[in-house]
């Protein structure tokens, strides 16, 4: 039997993440010689994946799309069949050159020049939502502030009407719930497709696909200046995107622009409550806004991991990874790597932006498309909170979403100090 080192914790178990990032487990992972093997007993005696915890190793995996593929296998830990994969594949499940072709379609929408127009919209929304919560004397930060802001922005970018924003929240919530162990009603949203063929194995994915289809048809008939109109009318190499390509794209953008930023905004409030002195520094010196936002993303690492599959035998950090092995990049571990970040465990709003963290990925072509937008939303929200002179107190320990993929907070009851 091969001697594969293991850490004590099972990183495939959402329960390991019940209290947020499992710092002790990741410290053990980073201290492990080579990579650690994580068995997946439910799949079989030999099944499992390699966990990569050190920052430099994560970067090696992330940048080398030829050796560590997103297309062979899936970018979540669990394996899915080839037909299921091709049904759901968006650019996140592709390697160059297929990835490149699709990424280029959406790149223009996310450059600084184009996203800065959203700053006043975020400010207005944040102001309204904070004002409402102040009037109510507090409430659930997640439902009241962190959820609605990002979904509003990504829906505006896509061209989803305001009246459908809540439906988007609901469906993407179910998508993430699909990454946990809790079973869902397979027929939700009128779904009749076998779950294994659906993204996140979730019937909500069916709901999103149908919604995207209907909206796409409306926009094709009467195009506007939004992303959906662009995706359904643009031609790539003389051809339009297929129905599947477009709906998969829609789902990717709705999820990515929503769940992730929401998580960062939830942690923003949590961190304000836990480190009031740090945010007092930012309140007094607004030049710290940029680094504070980076530190919030590093510290909370909303996307905990992405997975790759080795396309050949390769030595990674002294471990022989075999062709076909799953390799999981634990961004949440890399972000606390002491060899890269001084006093990695401490939350410091003035931490220099370089060396950069892995909150937007470990480097390479898949780096978060929306990083600039996320930074903008977080900075504007934080500034609005500070301008209003608000401080935050949490009333209860945060409840974390039951998943090992997103460092999500389910609910965060707060009151304001002033």
């Amino acid at each position: 039997m091969l001697d594969k080192p293991q850490i004590d914790a099972d990183l495939s178990d959402p329960g390991t993440f019940d209290h947020g990032i499992p710092q002790a487990a990741f410290a053990q992972l980073r201290a492990t010689k080579g990579l650690a093997w994580n068995p997946l007993k439910d799949e079989g005696p030999e099944a499992g994946f390699w966990s990569v915890g050190r920052f430099d190793d994560i970067v090696k995996v992330s940048r080398d799309t030829e050796t560590f593929s997103s297309a062979v296998g899936h970018i979540q830990i669990y394996n899915i069949d080839d037909d299921a994969l091709s049904a759901r594949a968006s650019m996140i499940d592709m390697d160059p050159p297929e990835h490149t072709r699709l990424r280029r379609l959406v790149n223009p929408g996310f450059i600084p020049k184009n996203i800065r127009d959203y700053a006043p919209v975020v400010k207005a929304r944040a102001g309204a939502l904070l004002g409402k919560m102040q009037a109510e004397g507090g409430g659930d930060w997640v439902a009241g502030v962190a959820k609605p802001i990002p979904i509003g922005i990504i829906c505006d970018m896509l061209g989803v009407p305001t009246e459908d924003h809540n439906l988007m929240i609901e469906m993407t919530d179910y998508l993430v719930a699909g990454t946990s162990a809790a079973p869902l009603d397979p027929t939700a949203y009128g779904n009749t497709t076998p779950l294994r063929l659906l993204p996140f194995n979730s019937p909500a994915a069916h709901g999103l696909r149908e919604y995207a289809r209907r909206l796409g048809a409306i926009r094709r008939a009467d195009p506007r200046d939004d992303l959906v109109s662009k995706l359904v009318t643009l031609e790539v190499d003389g051809e339009r995107l297929t129905d599947e390509e477009y709906t998969n794209f829609f789902r990717l953008l709705i999820f990515a622009g929503n769940e992730t930023t929401r998580t960062a905004m939830s942690h923003l409030a949590l961190l304000m409550a836990q480190h009031p002195d740090q945010f007092e520094r930012v309140r007094k010196d607004r030049s710290l806004l940029t680094t504070a936002v980076e530190e919030i993303v590093r510290y909370s690492t909303p996307i905990l991991y992405f997975r790759r599959t080795a396309t050949r035998d390769v030595d990674l950090s002294g471990t022989m990874v075999r062709r076909g092995d799953r390799v999981v990049m634990w961004y949440a571990s890399g972000n606390f790597d002491e060899t890269r970040f001084d006093n990695a465990q401490s939350f410091d709003v003035a931490r220099p932006a370089l060396p950069f963290h892995a909150g937007f990925g470990g480097g390479g072509v898949h780096t978060c498309l929306g990083a600039g937008l996320a930074r903008l939303e977080l900075a504007v929200l934080l500034e609005e909170i500070l301008d209003r002179g608000l401080t935050i107190k949490i009333l209860d320990k945060p409840e974390f979403v039951n998943t090992n993929f997103v460092n999500g907070i389910e609910k965060l009851d707060i009151t304001f100090g002033q």
Binding site: V59, N107, I111, P355, F356, G363, G364, V365, T367
Partner: protein
């Protein structure tokens, strides 16, 4: 001239200025190879990042007591940048008694000893090293020449005293030192002769109308600026010899090359922002230092270069620089091997032309 690597011992190490140090190299066996002023040695140094040796070229700045002298500037760390490997190794790890391997001398950039014309040696920064070698050679032969050197200030000015001493013993030599920003302790007349940048006016005052041989050496923007001035003064191409320190491009006269953008009017002096030329788009725009990097700058002009990470970790934004130089804001993971530049983490270093 030797193709083979020889072992040298460092027999002296002399600090010339705050950034520049000279090393005397005596061959372990036999005499120092003959060298032609302007030539360089290729060193094989054991200081590569992953243990593999690297090769670096340094100009010979003279023959001293039978030893070859090289004069090396420490290439400093910038934000996120590691220091230059070769120069750091010389400055920090090599002392008197150390041995190292070098081949040469080599080089196309050589003093034309047969020429009857008055020689003008024009150098910027550490580009003075081959010029110093030429100066000693010309002085030893009693030939007339003008040694013109531009640098930041007296702290970094290397071998100024050596050249001033040479002037005292060699009547047919003139010097002119231009400090961009003299320090309080630098005195006009004693330490420097002009400030700011070298201009056509400075050169006209120094050089009465005659047929000179010009030798240029220094960083890119310095070279292009001096070349433009000489062109403007009517100097023929074949009277100008040059060597770049750093990425080399061919010097071309701005007014006649078909592919270069037409010259644009701009203020002279230290405060002028560099011009960025986008050849494919036909745009020429003055750089805005408030913009974070060249990728964003291009986007502000309505261009849409390819990108992915915007952090120097992928190569999606790599762009050819066809003239001028850029500098990195921080060290990217890999600098493209084809000489192109990752514009997401670069800014212009002087005027620059991008293939966008």
């Amino acid at each position: 001239m030797s193709e083979k690597f020889m072992t040298y011992r460092i027999t002296a190490k002399t600090v010339e200025s705050s950034m520049i140090t000279s090393f005397l190299l005596t061959p372990k066996t036999g005499p120092a190879p003959d060298f032609h002023p302007g030539e360089y040695l290729i060193f094989e140094l054991p200081c590569g990042l992953d243990g593999t040796p690297i090769r670096r070229e340094y100009s010979i700045s003279g023959l001293v007591d039978g030893a070859l002298r090289v004069t090396i500037k420490r290439e400093p760390a910038a934000a996120g940048h590691a220091p230059g490997l070769g120069s750091a190794y010389f400055h920090d790890d090599l002392g008197v008694g150390a041995t190292l391997r070098a081949a040469g001398p080599f080089g196309q950039f050589q003093l034309d000893r047969a020429s009857p014309r008055h020689v003008v040696l024009l150098s910027g920064g550490v580009g003075l090293t081959p010029m110093v070698a030429m100066a000693h050679d010309l002085a030893a032969k009693g030939k007339p020449f003008t040694f013109i050197h531009a640098c930041e200030d007296g702290a970094v000015h290397a071998m100024g005293d050596e050249m001033r001493a040479l002037v005292k013993t060699h009547k047919a030599m003139t010097t002119h030192f231009c400090y961009r920003l003299p320090r309080h302790e630098d005195k006009p007349g004693r330490d420097y002769d002009s400030t700011g940048f070298l201009t056509a006016g400075t050169l006209q005052n120094l050089l009465p109308l005659a047929d000179y041989d010009f030798y240029l050496c220094g960083p890119g923007p310095f070279m292009q600026a001096l070349y433009d001035i000489l062109q403007g003064l009517g100097v023929r191409d074949d009277r100008i010899r040059y060597e770049f320190f750093g990425p080399a491009t061919l010097l071309r006269p701005r007014t006649t090359a078909p592919n270069l953008p037409p010259p644009t009017l701009r203020a002279e002096g230290e405060n002028a922002a560099p011009m960025v030329h986008f050849t494919k788009s036909g745009l020429s725009v003055e750089w805005d230092p408030a913009v974070a990097n060249l990728l964003e700058f291009a986007e502000e002009q309505g261009l849409m270069p390819d990108y992915s990470c915007r952090a120097g970790t992928c190569e999606s934004c790599k762009t050819r620089v066809t003239a001028g130089e850029t500098e990195y804001l921080f060290q990217p993971f890999e600098i493209p091997s084809d000489g192109s530049v990752l514009i997401c983490c670069s800014v212009p270093k002087g005027d620059v032309t991008l293939d966008l």
